[in-house]
């Protein structure tokens, strides 16, 4: 309902938007796309970085074969990529007994079940290690951890859901990290437990005893004393000592430490892509602002008479100017809000893709102060784009525009 004061300005502005529904829709859509693209580019990047840093399952470092730190981390913690090579069992024993090493767990990879990796480790890792401060791995009701010498498996929650595996099921592992039907091992594994979801890559693998990988039927005998990597939990400044020992003085193994900075460098490699997307978003925002200007400008000739009538009815210059500014603000605000919704949709899709590919999940729905800043900035841009048409409305010659049209 129409009311006096600011409400009449808002009412007239809203009607102005509605009257030019198509051009208003195009302006709102363009701004929404720009806002959505900008916000989602920034937030997916930030949240992914954060999520990857929190998905290291509580480990501080990883010792792997001589090679790339990033490859070691991706292979051992995120269960992606191939292993750069193997380490001797002695390396693990040595680290395990090193003062300053709080915990060390060997892992071995090389087999899969229907495309999901089998990761061999010691049962203690699933029993006692805290994958997050204060959180140990938990099993679904009725499950238990495998015993170190048995052909038993504990399935990550994601794999269990995807393959429908449950306690009591049996399966044949397949050789290699990628599923090929002809590479089936004769060994049969019994599922003895399913892990509760952790939102980490641990959900995407099938855990078996390390001896299972080492002694799998068909594996080379040399594998019996080999491991892929050692996951480490360190005390104090042990990371510096081990870094010097393995990376600066050693030639056999590589210590991926600190994990966060290695991952950060990895993400930085894609920062140019983020910059390009941000540039595209800003360009689209500018186009959106120009569309607002054009929408308002093109309707201004038609509006001249309407404004003159409003003035004649008692509207002040300020109120008429306010209608134009309010209209541009409405367009940009609707675009900004649409953009926020769009960014949540993009984030949700990204979350789904990243979870499918890595098992890592990130926060989609959390409110980020950036949203408020971007909405304010986009609204301000909209308001600024309304200034020129508003000045036009302000200078409208009242008497001239009240003349009967010829």
């Amino acid at each position: 309902m129409i009311r006096s004061g600011f409400q009449i300005i808002l009412f007239l502005a809203f009607r102005g938007v509605r009257k030019h529904a198509f051009s208003s829709f195009v302006a709102v859509l363009t701004i929404a796309m720009a806002t959505g693209l900008f916000l989602s580019t920034w937030r997916v990047n930030q949240e992914t970085r954060k999520a990857f840093n929190h998905s290291t399952c509580g480990f501080d470092a990883v010792l792997g074969a001589r090679g790339s730190k990033l490859q070691i981390i991706l292979n051992s913690l995120f269960h992606m990529e191939a292993s750069p090579g193997n380490l001797d069992w002695e390396q693990y024993e040595l680290l395990k007994n090193t003062p300053g090493v709080e915990a060390a767990f060997p892992i071995a990879v090389g087999d899969n079940y229907l495309g999901y990796r089998l990761v061999g480790t010691e049962p203690e890792m699933l029993e006692s290690h805290q994958w997050k401060k204060g959180s140990k791995f938990e099993l679904r009701r009725g499950g238990r951890i495998f015993t170190s010498m048995a052909k038993e498996a504990v399935v990550g929650s994601f794999v269990a859901r995807k393959l429908g595996l449950k306690s009591g099921d049996r399966f044949h592992p397949y050789h290699g990290l990628n599923f090929k039907e002809e590479n089936r091992h004769d060994d049969v594994y019994l599922v003895v437990g399913v892990l509760e979801a952790t939102g980490t890559p641990a959900d995407r693998v099938i855990w078996i005893p390390i001896k299972g990988i080492q002694l799998m039927e068909g594996h080379d005998e040399s594998m019996a004393q080999s491991i892929s990597a050692v996951l480490l939990k360190l005390r104090g400044s042990m990371g510096f000592s081990l870094n010097t020992k393995y990376n600066k003085q050693g030639t056999v193994a590589t210590l991926a430490w600190p994990i966060a900075s290695t991952l950060s460098r990895f993400f930085d490699k894609f920062s140019w892509f983020q910059k390009i997307l941000e540039l595209v978003a800003v360009s689209v925002a500018v186009i959106g602002a120009l569309i607002i200007v054009l929408t308002l400008r093109s309707s201004m000739n038609e509006k001249k008479r309407e404004f003159a009538i409003l003035r004649c009815l008692g509207a002040s210059r300020g109120e008429v100017t306010g209608v134009v500014l309010c209209q541009s603000l409405l367009l940009s605000l609707m675009g900004a809000v649409g953009g926020v919704v769009l960014h949540f949709m993009i984030n949700f899709s990204s979350l789904w893709i990243i979870r499918e590919k890595t098992g890592v999940i990130f926060e989609v729905w959390a409110f980020d102060p950036l949203i408020a800043y971007v909405v304010s900035a986009v609204s301000l841009i909209g308001l600024l784009s309304g200034i020129l048409p508003a000045v036009h409305a302000y200078r409208n010659d009242l008497a001239e525009n009240l003349k009967p049209s010829v």
Binding site: S4, L12, E306, R311, C312, L313, G314, L402, P404
Partner: protein
């Protein structure tokens, strides 16, 4: 209620020379009084109405309206007075096209600071448009549009109604209906009225009438241009 003295409005002509358009020595109108002005087109009648309404600023002289010195007021104050105390009806109605009949009235009420939908609806009943209140102006006949314009001009119970050729676009039958309605509504509300027309029938229906060229000293100059 309306007292005008030594009113002058000039416009620059093509050569930049200031040309008087309105030059009135004295003009008075009492509360509830009506006067019909007639004269040639282009002789400054509309400019005069714009000056009285505060749409244009005077160059010389004074306009006292309802105890206020209009010529000393700023534009915003004149806008407020126009919203609350002056109704204006035009030949081409000047209805807001993107809005319904009822909204046209409510918008006028909003600028006067007193929106009452029930009163607007009652007023539309009075002018015989109760069943058209949710129609757009373009869906109405010319006569109906004129009634909407009249209702909008009078909805805020103004002290003064300015009517600039209000029947100019109406046929003979509708013209006389419109004039009767204008008179009736103004009388009910004790609204004074200045009506400008070149229709002899309209003029003759008013007791108080005045030849514009007798009132405006500049009218002859303009007519001779």
């Amino acid at each position: 209620m309306l007292k005008i003295k030594n009113l002058k409005k000039v416009y620059p002509d093509d050569s930049g020379r200031k040309l008087p358009v309105v030059e009135i020595e004295e003009f008075n109108l009492k509360e509830g009084e009506s006067i019909a002005l007639y004269g040639e087109s282009g002789s400054g009648k509309t400019t005069f109405l714009h000056l009285v309404a505060g749409i244009l600023k005077i160059d010389e002289g004074s306009i006292h309206f309802n105890g206020l010195e209009m010529h000393r007021l700023g534009e915003h104050q004149r806008d407020l007075i126009r919203a609350r105390s002056i109704g204006y009806v035009f030949q081409s109605f000047h209805l807001l096209q993107g809005y319904t009949v009822l909204e046209n009235l409510l918008i006028a009420m909003a600028f006067a600071g007193k929106v009452e939908a029930s009163r607007a609806k009652r007023f539309l009943e009075v002018v015989g448009l109760a069943n058209r209140m949710n129609h757009a102006p373009h869906q109405l006949s010319v006569g109906q549009q004129q009634r909407v314009a009249l209702a909008r001009a009078l909805i805020n119970q103004p002290k003064l109604l300015l009517a600039d050729e209000p029947t100019g676009n109406l046929d003979l039958g509708n013209a006389s209906i419109a004039i009767e309605l204008i008179k009736e509504l103004c009388a009910d509300n004790k609204t004074a009225m200045i009506i400008v027309s070149h229709d002899p029938k309209v003029i003759s229906s008013f007791e108080n009438k005045l030849d514009w060229s007798d009132l405006n000293r500049a009218a002859d100059n303009l007519a001779s241009l």
